[in-house]
Protein backbone atom coordinates (compact mmCIF):
# COMPACT_ATOMS: atom_id res chain seq x y z
CA UNK A 1 0.00 0.00 0.00
CA UNK A 2 3.01 2.22 0.43
CA UNK A 3 3.23 2.48 -3.34
CA UNK A 4 -0.11 4.29 -3.57
CA UNK A 5 0.83 7.00 -1.14
CA UNK A 6 4.13 7.64 -2.88
CA UNK A 7 4.30 11.05 -4.55
CA UNK A 8 3.93 10.62 -8.30
CA UNK A 9 7.23 12.35 -9.09
CA UNK A 10 9.11 9.96 -6.82
CA UNK A 11 7.37 6.95 -8.33
CA UNK A 12 8.27 8.14 -11.81
CA UNK A 13 11.90 8.61 -10.76
CA UNK A 14 12.09 5.13 -9.34
CA UNK A 15 10.60 3.42 -12.40
CA UNK A 16 12.86 5.51 -14.61
CA UNK A 17 15.80 4.29 -12.59
CA UNK A 18 14.80 0.71 -13.16
CA UNK A 19 14.16 1.01 -16.86
CA UNK A 20 17.01 3.18 -18.05
CA UNK A 21 19.96 3.57 -15.66
CA UNK A 22 21.78 6.87 -15.82
CA UNK A 23 24.51 6.80 -18.46
CA UNK A 24 27.76 6.16 -16.76
CA UNK A 25 30.90 6.16 -18.89
CA UNK A 26 33.10 4.14 -16.54
CA UNK A 27 30.31 1.57 -16.08
CA UNK A 28 29.95 1.14 -19.86
CA UNK A 29 33.72 0.96 -20.38
CA UNK A 30 33.93 -1.71 -17.69
CA UNK A 31 31.22 -3.75 -19.41
CA UNK A 32 33.30 -3.48 -22.60
CA UNK A 33 36.44 -4.71 -20.79
CA UNK A 34 34.52 -7.66 -19.35
CA UNK A 35 33.12 -8.62 -22.75
CA UNK A 36 36.65 -8.57 -24.19
CA UNK A 37 37.80 -10.67 -21.23
CA UNK A 38 35.03 -13.22 -21.82
CA UNK A 39 35.77 -13.39 -25.55
CA UNK A 40 39.48 -13.93 -24.81
CA UNK A 41 38.66 -16.74 -22.39
CA UNK A 42 36.24 -18.50 -24.74
CA UNK A 43 38.08 -18.03 -28.04
CA UNK A 44 41.71 -18.20 -26.81
CA UNK A 45 42.69 -21.09 -29.15
CA UNK A 46 41.26 -19.21 -32.15
CA UNK A 47 42.74 -15.81 -31.29
CA UNK A 48 46.20 -16.83 -30.07
CA UNK A 49 48.87 -16.41 -32.77
CA UNK A 50 51.12 -19.08 -31.20
CA UNK A 51 51.04 -22.13 -29.00
CA UNK A 52 51.23 -20.63 -25.47
CA UNK A 53 53.56 -23.43 -24.37
CA UNK A 54 56.04 -23.52 -27.24
CA UNK A 55 59.47 -22.50 -25.96
CA UNK A 56 61.93 -20.66 -28.20
CA UNK A 57 65.22 -20.23 -26.41
CA UNK A 58 66.63 -18.29 -29.37
CA UNK A 59 64.08 -15.51 -28.84
CA UNK A 60 63.79 -14.84 -25.10
CA UNK A 61 62.51 -11.56 -23.63
CA UNK A 62 61.79 -10.17 -27.11
CA UNK A 63 60.32 -6.64 -26.82
CA UNK A 64 56.78 -5.76 -27.99
CA UNK A 65 56.58 -5.24 -31.73
CA UNK A 66 58.90 -8.14 -32.61
CA UNK A 67 57.64 -9.63 -35.90
CA UNK A 68 55.24 -12.47 -35.13
CA UNK A 69 55.09 -11.55 -31.43
CA UNK A 70 53.03 -8.34 -31.09
CA UNK A 71 53.54 -8.16 -27.30
CA UNK A 72 56.95 -9.80 -27.27
CA UNK A 73 58.05 -13.02 -25.56
CA UNK A 74 58.82 -14.09 -21.99
CA UNK A 75 62.02 -15.42 -20.43
CA UNK A 76 61.55 -18.80 -22.15
CA UNK A 77 60.69 -17.27 -25.51
CA UNK A 78 56.97 -18.06 -25.22
CA UNK A 79 54.57 -15.67 -26.99
CA UNK A 80 53.15 -13.22 -24.42
CA UNK A 81 49.90 -12.43 -26.26
CA UNK A 82 49.04 -16.13 -26.58
CA UNK A 83 49.80 -16.74 -22.93
CA UNK A 84 47.69 -13.74 -21.87
CA UNK A 85 44.72 -15.01 -23.90
CA UNK A 86 44.97 -18.51 -22.43
CA UNK A 87 45.53 -16.96 -19.00
CA UNK A 88 42.05 -15.43 -19.21
CA UNK A 89 40.68 -18.98 -18.99
CA UNK A 90 42.13 -19.90 -15.61
CA UNK A 91 41.14 -16.42 -14.43
CA UNK A 92 37.51 -17.25 -15.19
CA UNK A 93 37.45 -20.85 -14.00
CA UNK A 94 39.00 -20.38 -10.54
CA UNK A 95 36.82 -17.49 -9.32
CA UNK A 96 33.71 -19.12 -10.84
CA UNK A 97 34.26 -22.23 -8.72
CA UNK A 98 34.96 -20.08 -5.66
CA UNK A 99 31.87 -17.90 -6.05
CA UNK A 100 29.53 -20.79 -6.90
CA UNK A 101 30.54 -22.70 -3.78
CA UNK A 102 30.36 -19.62 -1.56
CA UNK A 103 26.88 -18.76 -2.87
CA UNK A 104 25.63 -22.26 -2.11
CA UNK A 105 27.05 -22.08 1.43
CA UNK A 106 26.22 -18.41 2.05
CA UNK A 107 22.67 -18.35 0.71
CA UNK A 108 21.76 -21.57 2.50
CA UNK A 109 23.10 -20.28 5.81
CA UNK A 110 21.68 -16.78 5.44
CA UNK A 111 18.24 -17.87 4.26
CA UNK A 112 17.96 -20.57 6.91
CA UNK A 113 18.98 -18.11 9.63
CA UNK A 114 16.45 -15.50 8.57
CA UNK A 115 13.62 -17.92 7.82
CA UNK A 116 13.89 -20.18 10.84
CA UNK A 117 14.90 -17.54 13.39
CA UNK A 118 15.29 -18.57 17.04
CA UNK A 119 18.23 -20.72 18.04
CA UNK A 120 19.01 -21.72 14.43
CA UNK A 121 19.51 -18.05 13.64
CA UNK A 122 21.68 -17.60 16.72
CA UNK A 123 23.91 -20.58 15.88
CA UNK A 124 24.26 -19.68 12.19
CA UNK A 125 25.05 -16.05 13.02
CA UNK A 126 27.78 -17.27 15.40
CA UNK A 127 29.26 -19.48 12.66
CA UNK A 128 29.15 -16.55 10.23
CA UNK A 129 31.00 -14.32 12.70
CA UNK A 130 33.55 -17.06 13.25
CA UNK A 131 34.22 -17.46 9.51
CA UNK A 132 35.01 -13.75 9.25
CA UNK A 133 38.21 -14.43 11.20
CA UNK A 134 39.74 -16.27 8.22
CA UNK A 135 41.12 -13.98 5.50
CA UNK A 136 40.57 -15.43 1.98
CA UNK A 137 44.25 -15.85 1.21
CA UNK A 138 44.90 -17.66 4.51
CA UNK A 139 42.04 -20.10 3.93
CA UNK A 140 43.34 -20.76 0.42
CA UNK A 141 46.89 -21.36 1.63
CA UNK A 142 45.61 -23.71 4.32
CA UNK A 143 43.54 -25.62 1.75
CA UNK A 144 46.60 -26.00 -0.48
CA UNK A 145 48.64 -27.29 2.47
CA UNK A 146 46.08 -30.08 2.91
CA UNK A 147 44.90 -30.90 -0.60
CA UNK A 148 47.90 -29.87 -2.72
CA UNK A 149 48.21 -27.05 -5.27
CA UNK A 150 45.93 -26.48 -8.26
CA UNK A 151 42.75 -24.54 -8.89
CA UNK A 152 40.09 -26.45 -6.97
CA UNK A 153 41.60 -26.60 -3.48
CA UNK A 154 42.40 -22.86 -3.19
CA UNK A 155 39.07 -21.96 -4.81
CA UNK A 156 37.19 -23.95 -2.19
CA UNK A 157 39.28 -22.38 0.58
CA UNK A 158 38.42 -18.94 -0.75
CA UNK A 159 34.77 -19.93 -1.09
CA UNK A 160 34.57 -20.79 2.60
CA UNK A 161 36.29 -17.54 3.58
CA UNK A 162 33.93 -15.48 1.37
CA UNK A 163 30.71 -17.25 2.35
CA UNK A 164 30.04 -15.17 5.53
CA UNK A 165 29.72 -11.99 3.44
CA UNK A 166 27.02 -13.61 1.32
CA UNK A 167 25.38 -15.26 4.33
CA UNK A 168 25.09 -11.93 6.16
CA UNK A 169 23.74 -10.15 3.09
CA UNK A 170 21.21 -12.92 2.38
CA UNK A 171 20.04 -12.94 5.97
CA UNK A 172 19.40 -9.20 6.06
CA UNK A 173 17.66 -9.15 2.66
CA UNK A 174 15.43 -12.13 3.50
CA UNK A 175 14.52 -10.52 6.84
CA UNK A 176 13.47 -7.39 4.95
CA UNK A 177 11.52 -9.42 2.41
CA UNK A 178 9.62 -11.33 5.11
CA UNK A 179 7.78 -8.14 6.08
CA UNK A 180 6.37 -7.76 2.59
CA UNK A 181 2.75 -8.44 1.77
CA UNK A 182 3.32 -11.22 -0.74
CA UNK A 183 5.05 -13.34 1.85
CA UNK A 184 2.35 -12.69 4.41
CA UNK A 185 -0.28 -13.47 1.75
CA UNK A 186 1.40 -16.76 0.89
CA UNK A 187 1.44 -17.67 4.55
CA UNK A 188 -2.21 -16.84 5.05
CA UNK A 189 -3.10 -18.99 2.08
CA UNK A 190 -1.39 -21.84 3.87
CA UNK A 191 1.61 -22.48 1.64
CA UNK A 192 4.51 -24.05 3.43
CA UNK A 193 7.33 -21.75 4.50
CA UNK A 194 10.04 -23.57 2.56
CA UNK A 195 8.01 -23.36 -0.64
CA UNK A 196 7.50 -19.62 -0.30
CA UNK A 197 11.18 -19.16 0.41
CA UNK A 198 12.40 -21.09 -2.62
CA UNK A 199 9.77 -20.15 -5.22
CA UNK A 200 9.14 -16.49 -4.42
CA UNK A 201 11.59 -14.97 -1.97
CA UNK A 202 14.86 -16.26 -3.43
CA UNK A 203 14.06 -15.15 -7.01
CA UNK A 204 13.17 -11.72 -5.62
CA UNK A 205 16.44 -11.27 -3.80
CA UNK A 206 18.57 -12.83 -6.57
CA UNK A 207 19.58 -9.51 -8.20
CA UNK A 208 21.24 -8.13 -5.07
CA UNK A 209 22.99 -11.44 -4.36
CA UNK A 210 24.29 -11.53 -7.94
CA UNK A 211 25.62 -7.96 -7.59
CA UNK A 212 27.51 -9.00 -4.45
CA UNK A 213 28.84 -12.06 -6.30
CA UNK A 214 30.29 -9.87 -9.03
CA UNK A 215 32.20 -7.83 -6.43
CA UNK A 216 33.38 -11.02 -4.70
CA UNK A 217 34.44 -12.45 -8.08
CA UNK A 218 36.96 -9.60 -8.41
CA UNK A 219 38.42 -10.29 -4.97
CA UNK A 220 38.59 -14.03 -5.68
CA UNK A 221 40.40 -13.32 -8.94
CA UNK A 222 43.07 -11.32 -7.11
CA UNK A 223 43.44 -13.89 -4.33
CA UNK A 224 43.79 -16.77 -6.78
CA UNK A 225 46.28 -14.84 -8.90
CA UNK A 226 48.21 -14.08 -5.70
CA UNK A 227 48.27 -17.78 -4.89
CA UNK A 228 49.54 -18.70 -8.35
CA UNK A 229 52.09 -15.93 -7.96
CA UNK A 230 53.34 -17.66 -4.80
CA UNK A 231 53.57 -20.93 -6.72
CA UNK A 232 50.73 -22.51 -4.74
CA UNK A 233 47.94 -22.26 -7.32
CA UNK A 234 48.05 -22.95 -11.02
CA UNK A 235 51.28 -24.82 -11.77
CA UNK A 236 53.87 -24.28 -14.52
CA UNK A 237 53.88 -24.51 -17.50
CA UNK A 238 50.18 -23.53 -17.48
CA UNK A 239 49.39 -20.00 -18.74
CA UNK A 240 47.97 -17.97 -15.84
CA UNK A 241 48.36 -14.28 -15.09
CA UNK A 242 49.53 -14.80 -11.52
CA UNK A 243 51.99 -17.47 -12.59
CA UNK A 244 53.21 -15.26 -15.46
CA UNK A 245 53.94 -12.52 -12.93
CA UNK A 246 55.86 -15.01 -10.81
CA UNK A 247 57.92 -16.09 -13.83
CA UNK A 248 58.53 -12.47 -14.88
CA UNK A 249 60.92 -11.73 -12.00
CA UNK A 250 64.15 -12.91 -13.77
CA UNK A 251 63.15 -11.02 -16.95
CA UNK A 252 62.44 -7.93 -14.87
CA UNK A 253 65.96 -7.99 -13.46
CA UNK A 254 67.25 -8.08 -17.07
CA UNK A 255 65.20 -4.97 -17.83
CA UNK A 256 62.43 -6.73 -19.77
CA UNK A 257 59.61 -4.87 -18.02
CA UNK A 258 56.95 -5.87 -20.56
CA UNK A 259 57.02 -9.50 -19.42
CA UNK A 260 55.66 -8.22 -16.09
CA UNK A 261 53.67 -5.23 -17.32
CA UNK A 262 51.21 -7.02 -19.64
CA UNK A 263 49.90 -9.65 -17.23
CA UNK A 264 49.85 -7.00 -14.47
CA UNK A 265 47.84 -4.63 -16.66
CA UNK A 266 45.38 -7.37 -17.65
CA UNK A 267 44.85 -8.36 -14.04
CA UNK A 268 44.35 -4.80 -12.78
CA UNK A 269 42.13 -3.81 -15.71
CA UNK A 270 39.80 -6.79 -15.28
CA UNK A 271 39.62 -6.35 -11.52
CA UNK A 272 38.83 -2.63 -11.80
CA UNK A 273 36.15 -3.40 -14.40
CA UNK A 274 34.57 -6.09 -12.24
CA UNK A 275 34.59 -3.79 -9.20
CA UNK A 276 33.05 -0.91 -11.14
CA UNK A 277 30.25 -3.09 -12.50
CA UNK A 278 29.63 -4.86 -9.20
CA UNK A 279 29.66 -1.72 -7.02
CA UNK A 280 27.52 0.09 -9.59
CA UNK A 281 24.90 -2.64 -9.52
CA UNK A 282 25.00 -2.87 -5.72
CA UNK A 283 24.47 0.90 -5.47
CA UNK A 284 21.48 0.74 -7.78
CA UNK A 285 19.94 -2.17 -5.86
CA UNK A 286 20.62 -0.38 -2.61
CA UNK A 287 18.86 2.75 -3.85
CA UNK A 288 15.94 0.76 -5.15
CA UNK A 289 15.58 -1.11 -1.90
CA UNK A 290 15.51 2.06 0.14
CA UNK A 291 12.67 3.48 -1.92
Amino acid sequence: MAGLSMPSSLAAASTGLRRRPRRNVSFDLSIGVLIAFAVAAIAAPLLAPHDPYSVDLGLTNAPPGTPGHPLGTDGSGRDLLSRLLFGARTSVIGPTIAITVSVVIGVTMGAAAAWCGGWIDAVLTRITDFLFAFPGLLAAVFAVALFGPGIVAPAVGIAIAYSPVIARLTRSVVLGEQQKLYVVADRTMGFSGARTLVTTVLPNIAPIIVSQCIVSFGYALVDLAALSFLGLGVQAPEADWGLMLNESLPSLLLGAWWVMAFPAACLVLVVVAINTVGEGLLDRRGKKRKR
Partner: protein, 322 residues
Protein backbone atom coordinates in the same frame (compact mmCIF):
# COMPACT_ATOMS: atom_id res chain seq x y z
CA UNK B 1 26.66 4.15 39.30
CA UNK B 2 27.33 0.63 40.45
CA UNK B 3 24.78 -0.76 38.00
CA UNK B 4 26.64 1.01 35.21
CA UNK B 5 29.92 -0.49 36.41
CA UNK B 6 28.26 -3.91 36.44
CA UNK B 7 26.99 -3.36 32.90
CA UNK B 8 30.39 -2.44 31.55
CA UNK B 9 31.93 -5.36 33.43
CA UNK B 10 29.40 -7.65 31.76
CA UNK B 11 30.24 -6.08 28.39
CA UNK B 12 33.98 -6.64 28.80
CA UNK B 13 33.46 -10.15 30.16
CA UNK B 14 31.19 -11.07 27.26
CA UNK B 15 33.68 -9.86 24.68
CA UNK B 16 36.61 -11.65 26.29
CA UNK B 17 34.60 -14.87 26.55
CA UNK B 18 33.61 -14.55 22.89
CA UNK B 19 37.26 -14.15 21.88
CA UNK B 20 38.31 -17.18 23.91
CA UNK B 21 35.54 -19.33 22.38
CA UNK B 22 36.49 -18.22 18.86
CA UNK B 23 40.12 -19.17 19.49
CA UNK B 24 39.14 -22.52 20.91
CA UNK B 25 36.89 -23.36 17.94
CA UNK B 26 39.74 -22.32 15.64
CA UNK B 27 42.06 -24.85 17.26
CA UNK B 28 39.46 -27.57 16.61
CA UNK B 29 39.07 -26.56 12.95
CA UNK B 30 42.82 -26.24 12.36
CA UNK B 31 43.49 -29.58 14.01
CA UNK B 32 40.73 -31.65 12.46
CA UNK B 33 41.15 -30.27 8.92
CA UNK B 34 43.84 -32.90 8.31
CA UNK B 35 41.23 -35.62 8.74
CA UNK B 36 38.93 -34.06 6.13
CA UNK B 37 41.42 -34.98 3.42
CA UNK B 38 40.38 -38.23 1.79
CA UNK B 39 42.76 -41.04 2.58
CA UNK B 40 44.92 -42.02 5.49
CA UNK B 41 46.41 -39.01 7.37
CA UNK B 42 49.83 -40.66 7.31
CA UNK B 43 49.84 -40.85 3.50
CA UNK B 44 48.71 -37.20 3.32
CA UNK B 45 51.60 -36.16 5.56
CA UNK B 46 54.05 -38.27 3.57
CA UNK B 47 52.85 -37.09 0.15
CA UNK B 48 55.78 -36.34 -2.12
CA UNK B 49 58.34 -37.70 0.38
CA UNK B 50 60.26 -40.94 0.38
CA UNK B 51 58.59 -43.05 3.10
CA UNK B 52 61.70 -44.26 4.86
CA UNK B 53 60.95 -46.24 8.05
CA UNK B 54 62.55 -43.48 10.17
CA UNK B 55 60.39 -40.77 8.59
CA UNK B 56 57.21 -42.85 8.99
CA UNK B 57 58.13 -43.46 12.61
CA UNK B 58 58.80 -39.76 13.17
CA UNK B 59 55.49 -38.73 11.59
CA UNK B 60 53.62 -41.29 13.68
CA UNK B 61 55.28 -39.95 16.78
CA UNK B 62 54.85 -36.26 15.98
CA UNK B 63 51.21 -36.46 14.91
CA UNK B 64 50.51 -39.26 17.43
CA UNK B 65 48.64 -41.23 14.82
CA UNK B 66 48.32 -44.30 17.07
CA UNK B 67 46.25 -42.50 19.68
CA UNK B 68 42.47 -42.01 19.49
CA UNK B 69 41.34 -38.72 17.86
CA UNK B 70 40.19 -36.91 21.00
CA UNK B 71 43.28 -37.81 22.97
CA UNK B 72 45.44 -36.68 20.04
CA UNK B 73 43.60 -33.35 19.93
CA UNK B 74 43.89 -32.91 23.68
CA UNK B 75 47.66 -33.53 23.66
CA UNK B 76 48.12 -31.12 20.74
CA UNK B 77 45.90 -28.49 22.36
CA UNK B 78 47.58 -28.60 25.77
CA UNK B 79 50.94 -28.53 23.97
CA UNK B 80 49.95 -25.25 22.30
CA UNK B 81 48.85 -23.79 25.62
CA UNK B 82 52.38 -24.53 26.83
CA UNK B 83 53.91 -22.95 23.73
CA UNK B 84 54.69 -26.26 22.01
CA UNK B 85 53.63 -26.01 18.36
CA UNK B 86 55.28 -29.21 17.18
CA UNK B 87 58.34 -29.90 15.09
CA UNK B 88 59.15 -28.71 11.58
CA UNK B 89 60.27 -31.56 9.32
CA UNK B 90 61.62 -29.19 6.70
CA UNK B 91 63.79 -27.12 9.02
CA UNK B 92 64.46 -29.82 11.63
CA UNK B 93 63.56 -27.30 14.30
CA UNK B 94 60.95 -26.60 16.93
CA UNK B 95 58.08 -24.65 15.29
CA UNK B 96 57.89 -22.16 18.15
CA UNK B 97 61.59 -21.33 17.85
CA UNK B 98 61.29 -21.16 14.08
CA UNK B 99 58.43 -18.65 14.32
CA UNK B 100 60.25 -16.60 16.93
CA UNK B 101 63.27 -16.35 14.63
CA UNK B 102 61.15 -15.19 11.69
CA UNK B 103 59.01 -12.82 13.74
CA UNK B 104 61.18 -9.65 13.83
CA UNK B 105 61.16 -9.13 10.04
CA UNK B 106 57.41 -9.57 9.79
CA UNK B 107 56.66 -7.40 12.81
CA UNK B 108 58.84 -4.60 11.42
CA UNK B 109 57.16 -4.92 8.04
CA UNK B 110 53.60 -5.00 9.41
CA UNK B 111 54.14 -2.11 11.82
CA UNK B 112 55.85 0.02 9.17
CA UNK B 113 53.05 -0.72 6.71
CA UNK B 114 50.33 -0.02 9.27
CA UNK B 115 51.89 3.38 10.03
CA UNK B 116 51.99 4.22 6.31
CA UNK B 117 48.36 3.17 5.91
CA UNK B 118 47.17 5.10 8.95
CA UNK B 119 48.98 8.29 7.99
CA UNK B 120 48.52 8.13 4.22
CA UNK B 121 45.00 6.72 4.20
CA UNK B 122 43.50 9.04 6.80
CA UNK B 123 45.29 12.09 5.35
CA UNK B 124 43.81 11.41 1.92
CA UNK B 125 40.39 10.74 3.46
CA UNK B 126 40.44 13.94 5.49
CA UNK B 127 41.57 16.04 2.54
CA UNK B 128 38.86 14.47 0.40
CA UNK B 129 36.03 15.03 2.89
CA UNK B 130 37.03 18.48 4.14
CA UNK B 131 38.05 20.14 0.87
CA UNK B 132 35.42 18.52 -1.35
CA UNK B 133 34.96 19.61 -4.94
CA UNK B 134 37.79 18.93 -7.33
CA UNK B 135 40.19 17.67 -4.63
CA UNK B 136 37.55 15.14 -3.61
CA UNK B 137 37.08 13.99 -7.19
CA UNK B 138 40.81 13.56 -7.80
CA UNK B 139 41.34 11.69 -4.54
CA UNK B 140 38.40 9.40 -5.26
CA UNK B 141 39.90 8.38 -8.59
CA UNK B 142 43.33 7.91 -7.00
CA UNK B 143 42.06 5.83 -4.09
CA UNK B 144 39.93 3.55 -6.26
CA UNK B 145 42.95 2.93 -8.47
CA UNK B 146 45.06 2.27 -5.35
CA UNK B 147 42.62 -0.18 -3.83
CA UNK B 148 42.48 -2.19 -7.07
CA UNK B 149 46.26 -2.64 -7.21
CA UNK B 150 47.23 -6.07 -5.82
CA UNK B 151 50.20 -5.94 -3.42
CA UNK B 152 52.33 -8.30 -5.50
CA UNK B 153 51.83 -6.25 -8.66
CA UNK B 154 52.76 -3.08 -6.76
CA UNK B 155 55.80 -4.88 -5.38
CA UNK B 156 57.04 -5.87 -8.85
CA UNK B 157 56.54 -2.35 -10.22
CA UNK B 158 58.30 -0.71 -7.26
CA UNK B 159 61.11 -3.26 -7.45
CA UNK B 160 61.64 -2.49 -11.12
CA UNK B 161 61.44 1.30 -10.85
CA UNK B 162 62.99 2.18 -7.49
CA UNK B 163 65.43 -0.68 -6.98
CA UNK B 164 66.23 -1.51 -10.60
CA UNK B 165 66.09 1.65 -12.71
CA UNK B 166 66.77 4.30 -10.08
CA UNK B 167 68.70 2.20 -7.59
CA UNK B 168 67.40 4.20 -4.63
CA UNK B 169 66.54 1.21 -2.49
CA UNK B 170 67.97 -2.29 -2.06
CA UNK B 171 66.05 -5.03 -3.87
CA UNK B 172 66.76 -7.89 -1.51
CA UNK B 173 66.70 -8.76 2.17
CA UNK B 174 65.30 -7.24 5.33
CA UNK B 175 68.35 -5.31 6.51
CA UNK B 176 69.16 -4.84 10.16
CA UNK B 177 70.18 -5.10 12.86
CA UNK B 178 70.20 -1.27 13.19
CA UNK B 179 66.98 0.67 12.66
CA UNK B 180 68.17 2.78 9.71
CA UNK B 181 69.15 -0.25 7.66
CA UNK B 182 65.82 -1.95 8.41
CA UNK B 183 63.85 1.10 7.35
CA UNK B 184 65.80 1.45 4.11
CA UNK B 185 65.33 -2.24 3.28
CA UNK B 186 61.67 -2.39 4.24
CA UNK B 187 60.48 0.83 2.58
CA UNK B 188 59.63 -0.66 -0.82
CA UNK B 189 57.95 -3.78 0.63
CA UNK B 190 55.96 -1.66 3.08
CA UNK B 191 54.81 0.80 0.42
CA UNK B 192 53.82 -2.09 -1.89
CA UNK B 193 51.81 -3.66 0.89
CA UNK B 194 50.27 -0.36 2.02
CA UNK B 195 48.94 0.96 -1.30
CA UNK B 196 45.71 -0.99 -1.65
CA UNK B 197 44.88 -0.87 2.07
CA UNK B 198 45.57 2.89 2.17
CA UNK B 199 43.11 3.34 -0.69
CA UNK B 200 40.41 1.55 1.30
CA UNK B 201 41.33 3.40 4.48
CA UNK B 202 40.97 6.73 2.67
CA UNK B 203 37.50 5.80 1.47
CA UNK B 204 36.39 4.70 4.93
CA UNK B 205 37.76 7.88 6.51
CA UNK B 206 36.07 10.00 3.87
CA UNK B 207 32.64 8.47 4.26
CA UNK B 208 32.87 8.52 8.08
CA UNK B 209 33.80 12.22 8.04
CA UNK B 210 31.13 13.11 5.52
CA UNK B 211 28.47 11.39 7.59
CA UNK B 212 29.57 13.42 10.63
CA UNK B 213 29.92 16.69 8.69
CA UNK B 214 26.34 16.38 7.50
CA UNK B 215 24.89 15.50 10.90
CA UNK B 216 22.58 17.64 13.00
CA UNK B 217 24.97 18.22 15.89
CA UNK B 218 27.63 19.61 13.54
CA UNK B 219 25.03 21.85 11.93
CA UNK B 220 24.03 23.06 15.38
CA UNK B 221 27.66 23.74 16.32
CA UNK B 222 28.09 25.74 13.12
CA UNK B 223 25.00 27.79 13.94
CA UNK B 224 26.51 28.57 17.33
CA UNK B 225 29.41 30.09 15.42
CA UNK B 226 31.93 27.30 15.79
CA UNK B 227 34.20 26.44 12.94
CA UNK B 228 37.67 25.52 11.83
CA UNK B 229 39.94 23.24 13.80
CA UNK B 230 37.90 23.35 16.99
CA UNK B 231 34.73 22.18 15.26
CA UNK B 232 36.65 19.47 13.41
CA UNK B 233 38.49 18.13 16.44
CA UNK B 234 35.72 18.17 18.99
CA UNK B 235 32.57 17.58 16.96
CA UNK B 236 33.58 15.69 13.84
CA UNK B 237 36.81 13.73 14.24
CA UNK B 238 35.97 11.95 17.47
CA UNK B 239 32.88 10.15 16.19
CA UNK B 240 34.46 9.51 12.82
CA UNK B 241 37.32 7.64 14.55
CA UNK B 242 35.08 4.64 15.25
CA UNK B 243 34.80 3.22 11.68
CA UNK B 244 38.51 3.93 11.11
CA UNK B 245 39.42 1.96 14.24
CA UNK B 246 37.08 -0.87 13.30
CA UNK B 247 38.81 -1.18 9.96
CA UNK B 248 42.23 -1.05 11.62
CA UNK B 249 41.25 -4.11 13.65
CA UNK B 250 40.74 -6.18 10.50
CA UNK B 251 43.78 -4.60 8.88
CA UNK B 252 46.56 -6.05 11.04
CA UNK B 253 45.59 -9.70 10.49
CA UNK B 254 45.13 -8.98 6.79
CA UNK B 255 48.63 -7.50 6.60
CA UNK B 256 50.07 -10.56 8.29
CA UNK B 257 48.56 -12.73 5.55
CA UNK B 258 49.34 -10.55 2.52
CA UNK B 259 52.91 -9.96 3.74
CA UNK B 260 53.83 -13.31 2.16
CA UNK B 261 53.29 -11.74 -1.28
CA UNK B 262 55.82 -8.94 -0.85
CA UNK B 263 58.17 -11.09 1.22
CA UNK B 264 58.56 -13.44 -1.73
CA UNK B 265 59.31 -10.56 -4.14
CA UNK B 266 61.89 -8.85 -1.93
CA UNK B 267 63.44 -12.00 -0.49
CA UNK B 268 62.44 -11.20 3.09
CA UNK B 269 62.87 -13.90 5.66
CA UNK B 270 59.61 -13.47 7.53
CA UNK B 271 56.55 -15.45 8.58
CA UNK B 272 55.02 -15.10 5.10
CA UNK B 273 57.86 -16.70 3.20
CA UNK B 274 57.99 -19.36 5.91
CA UNK B 275 54.35 -20.28 5.22
CA UNK B 276 54.92 -20.50 1.47
CA UNK B 277 57.93 -22.78 1.79
CA UNK B 278 56.14 -24.86 4.44
CA UNK B 279 53.13 -25.40 2.18
CA UNK B 280 55.41 -26.36 -0.70
CA UNK B 281 57.28 -28.82 1.51
CA UNK B 282 54.15 -30.13 3.26
CA UNK B 283 55.29 -28.99 6.66
CA UNK B 284 51.84 -29.06 8.19
CA UNK B 285 52.81 -28.18 11.76
CA UNK B 286 54.19 -24.81 10.62
CA UNK B 287 51.08 -24.00 8.55
CA UNK B 288 48.85 -24.87 11.50
CA UNK B 289 50.86 -22.68 13.84
CA UNK B 290 50.81 -19.67 11.50
CA UNK B 291 47.07 -20.07 10.88
CA UNK B 292 46.48 -20.05 14.64
CA UNK B 293 48.74 -17.01 14.96
CA UNK B 294 46.86 -15.03 12.30
CA UNK B 295 43.45 -15.85 13.77
CA UNK B 296 44.75 -14.98 17.25
CA UNK B 297 45.95 -11.59 15.99
CA UNK B 298 42.59 -11.01 14.29
CA UNK B 299 40.64 -11.93 17.42
CA UNK B 300 42.86 -9.88 19.74
CA UNK B 301 42.89 -6.72 17.62
CA UNK B 302 39.13 -6.93 17.22
CA UNK B 303 38.72 -7.44 20.96
CA UNK B 304 40.80 -4.33 21.64
CA UNK B 305 38.82 -2.32 19.08
CA UNK B 306 35.53 -3.57 20.54
CA UNK B 307 36.61 -2.48 23.99
CA UNK B 308 38.09 0.86 22.95
CA UNK B 309 35.33 2.15 20.66
CA UNK B 310 32.72 2.51 23.45
CA UNK B 311 35.21 4.75 25.27
CA UNK B 312 35.31 7.03 22.24
CA UNK B 313 31.64 6.99 21.33
CA UNK B 314 29.42 6.91 24.40
CA UNK B 315 26.38 5.96 22.32
CA UNK B 316 27.98 2.58 21.56
CA UNK B 317 28.40 1.94 25.28
CA UNK B 318 24.75 2.58 25.98
CA UNK B 319 23.56 0.52 23.04
CA UNK B 320 25.73 -2.44 23.93
CA UNK B 321 24.91 -2.33 27.61
CA UNK B 322 21.19 -2.15 26.92
Amino acid sequence: MSSQAAASFRLVGGRVLGAVVTMWVTTIVVFSALYLVPGDPLSVLLRGRKPTPELVEMMRAQYQLDLPFLERYWNWFTGILHGDFGYSIQYQQDVGELLAGRMPTTVWLVVYTAILILIGGTALGIASAVRGGRTDGAILVATSAMSALPAFVAALVLLFVFAGLLGWFPSFGAGGPDVASRIVHLTLPAVALAISYAGLMARITRSALRAELGSDHVEAARLRGLGGIHLFRHHVARNATVPVLTYSGILVAGLLVTSQLVESVFGLNGIGSLVVSSVKNLDLAVVQAVTLLVVAVFVLTNLVVDLVTPMIDVRLRQRKAA
